[in-house]
């Protein structure tokens, strides 16, 4: 009896052609005649594109040579990167002080990586950030412990990009949450203020905010008072981002069922605890994907500061290319830059996916 069942099972194995590589090919690439046609066409295009690209990138290319040597090759001149990496990454930071911004960036990245684990989100982490912010600021600015002062006008390259984007996001996010709560407030004055602010900022491109912060804003300040240019750009970015975050968060708040408010209310929980412990944790979880969308675009949009003569990592690359020696290798430089941006953006979006999964509690 058991034997015959086993034999029957044997017969019921799936047909070989449905599993394995052949099965996959058949179901995904050759399921219909037009699907097959598309597959073949795509293969053709790839065969036509990939080999020359591969040659350009890997075979005919030079990776670490002089600019002169690059003149004689057909492939990519990656040498433009190692030859100029100091300027692309650190810009005008004074010679001999390179260790300071590098150390600051390493600190920042380690801190970000350390903060990834949710189990570490405690009060002590906030203190850790605060202390490290002071250390990073001191490293960049100097003026103590024998480190010469480096004015913010000399801050450039990747450290500037990090400064504008990371701190832009970190400050803008809570500000955006407050704006979203304000917009849903029952107090008319606060509500109007938040609506006006959000709609005004969203009606204006970031570029014009940056212009305003760098050109118009100083006109309103009294004689002799000046606010640091980097700080002004940072504030413009924060104000801009906060308005977008506010709308994203408001979407999350609106998605919360009324029963959640009522349950919290009926426990006698005051407004601030209701928001902090019940509503925001759920609402913010819902809006992780769109929030990350906003943050990613801020990260990339920080490169707009070139128009107010700040030298972020895009601008330092452009300066490098304005050197006649390296002028012909913009493709290589921009590919490098694109990879650099991609690494950070990809890290952010994959982290957000991880976070979403962790926060899922089966409802």
């Amino acid at each position: 009896m058991p034997e015959s069942t086993a034999a029957k099972r044997e017969q019921l194995k799936p047909p070989v052609s449905n599993v394995g590589i052949i099965g996959w090919l058949r179901t995904n690439l050759f399921s219909t005649w037009y699907n097959s046609l598309l597959t073949i066409a795509m293969l053709g295009i790839l065969a036509w594109l990939v080999p020359p690209l591969f040659r350009w990138v890997f075979i005919d290319s030079l990776w670490n040579s002089s600019a002169e040597a690059c003149r004689d090759i057909d492939g990519a001149c990656w040498s433009v990167i190692p030859n100029n990496i100091r300027f692309i990454i650190l810009g005008f930071f004074p010679e001999g002080q390179e260790w300071r911004p590098i150390l600051a960036m390493i600190l920042l990245l380690s801190l970000v990586i350390y903060s990834k684990e949710r189990s570490r989100w405690k009060k002590s982490l906030a203190w850790l950030w605060l202390i490290n912010l002071i250390i990073m600021g001191t490293l960049m600015y100097g003026g103590v412990l024998g480190m010469p002062v480096v004015e913010t006008s000399q801050w450039s390259g990747l450290p500037l990009t990090f400064l504008l984007s990371f701190f832009g996001m970190i400050v803008a996010y809570p500000l955006g949450i407050l704006l979203a709560l304000g917009r849903r407030s029952e107090m008319p004055a606060i509500k109007t203020l938040c609506v006006v602010y959000i709609e005004m900022i969203r009606g204006v491109p970031l570029i014009s905010l940056l212009f305003m912060s760098s050109i118009m804003f100083p006109l309103f300040l009294p004689e002799g008072v000046s606010i640091d240019k980097v700080l002004r750009a940072l504030i413009a970015i924060i104000l801009f981002t906060a308005a977008y975050i506010a709308e994203v968060v408001r979407g999350g708040l609106q998605a919360m069922p009324r029963g959640q408010y009522e349950a919290a209310d009926s426990l006698g929980l005051p407004y601030k605890h209701t928001m902090r412990l019940v509503i925001l944790p759920q609402a913010l979880k819902i809006v992780i994907p769109p929030s990350v969308g906003v943050l990613l675009s801020v990260f990339k949009d920080t490169s707009l500061v070139v128009i107010i003569a700040l030298y972020d990592v895009l601008k330092t690359t452009m300066v490098t290319l304005s050197n006649p020696k390296w002028a012909g290798y913009s493709s290589e430089s921009y590919i490098f830059l694109a990879l650099l941006y991609f690494v950070f953006c990809y890290a952010m979006s994959s982290y957000s996916r991880k976070l979403e999964k962790e926060l899922h509690t089966g409802h």
């Binding site: 069922p257 009522e262 919290a264 009926s266 426990l267 006698g268 005051p270 759920q282 509690t361 089966g362």
Partner: protein, 256 residues
């Protein structure tokens, strides 16, 4: 409005725990509740029934100010409900509420759901709050689920957790708004059993329900509402066997 009603007198024990006088409520132009007068003594169990849309939910939601009334007085445990948020929060902390759809906090574990109120409203130390929470979970026979999330529990279990969550605040009164209507039939009993247990311990309860069996066996008073009015209230025997009003008779003939 002020606290003039809050006079402390020797016959305090006889004072009703909930007192509603000439209360009216409108939604826009729609007169949902009209001239409600109700007194609930400590330990009394009142079942409220009536056709859909008659204002039962609205009435009990007014008692903890989830809805605002526009005229008259509602005094709970000596505190009058007015626009003062401190008064409202005080009343809410003393009044437990159980909803038709449980409304547990899905991002918190069961035990965290239970300790949230005690920790942040009553300022109970966490450890103490957790011990009390476990005791109440045991009482509703669900202690082994303490570390789970609400989404991992059945409807009946969730409703029992919701009851335990309210009990953790040591409320003077419990309000139930159709606690079993969203449940599958086989889960209704487990929730009703918990409620019967509570009643036997002397909890003051206001229950909106269509479970007439529960009303007959537990209620001290059954109240019939129609069109925003309290039409009739009586002890269950009289209410079911000898209803006074035509509207009550019609309603009972439809549901029994």
């Amino acid at each position: 409005m002020n606290d003039s009603q809050k006079s402390v007198s020797p016959e305090d024990s006889a004072k009703p725990i909930i007192e509603i006088r000439e209360m009216h409520k409108w939604y826009g132009d729609f007169h949902v509740l009209s001239n409600i007068n109700l007194q609930v003594q400590a330990q009394e169990k009142i079942v409220i029934c009536g056709p859909s849309g008659s204002g039962k939910s609205t009435l009990i939601r007014c008692i903890n100010r989830l809805e605002e009334h526009q005229r008259g007085h509602i005094i709970v445990n000596g505190t009058e409900l007015c626009n003062d948020i401190k008064n409202i929060e005080k009343v809410r902390a003393e009044v437990g509420m159980v909803f038709q759809h449980f409304n547990l906090f899905p991002h918190l574990t069961i035990i965290e759901n239970l300790t949230l109120g005690p920790i942040w409203v009553r300022k109970t130390p966490k450890k103490e709050a957790e011990e009390a929470a476990m005791m109440y979970l045991e009482k509703v026979q669900i202690a082994e689920q303490a570390k789970k999330f609400p989404g991992q529990l059945s409807g009946g279990q969730q409703q029992r957790v919701a009851i335990a969550r309210s009990l953790c605040m040591n409320p003077q009164v419990m309000l139930f708004d159709e606690p079993t209507s969203a449940l599958d039939p086989e889960m209704i009993k487990e929730v009703l059993d918990v409620m019967i247990g509570l009643a036997e311990e002397g909890m003051t309860m206001l229950v909106v329900t269509h479970e007439m069996g529960f009303a007959k066996s537990v209620a001290d008073r059954v109240m019939f509402m129609d069109d925003g009015e309290i039409v009739e209230q009586n002890s269950p025997d009289v209410f079911f066997d000898n209803p006074q009003h035509e509207r009550t008779k019609l309603f009972l003939s439809q549901i029994l």
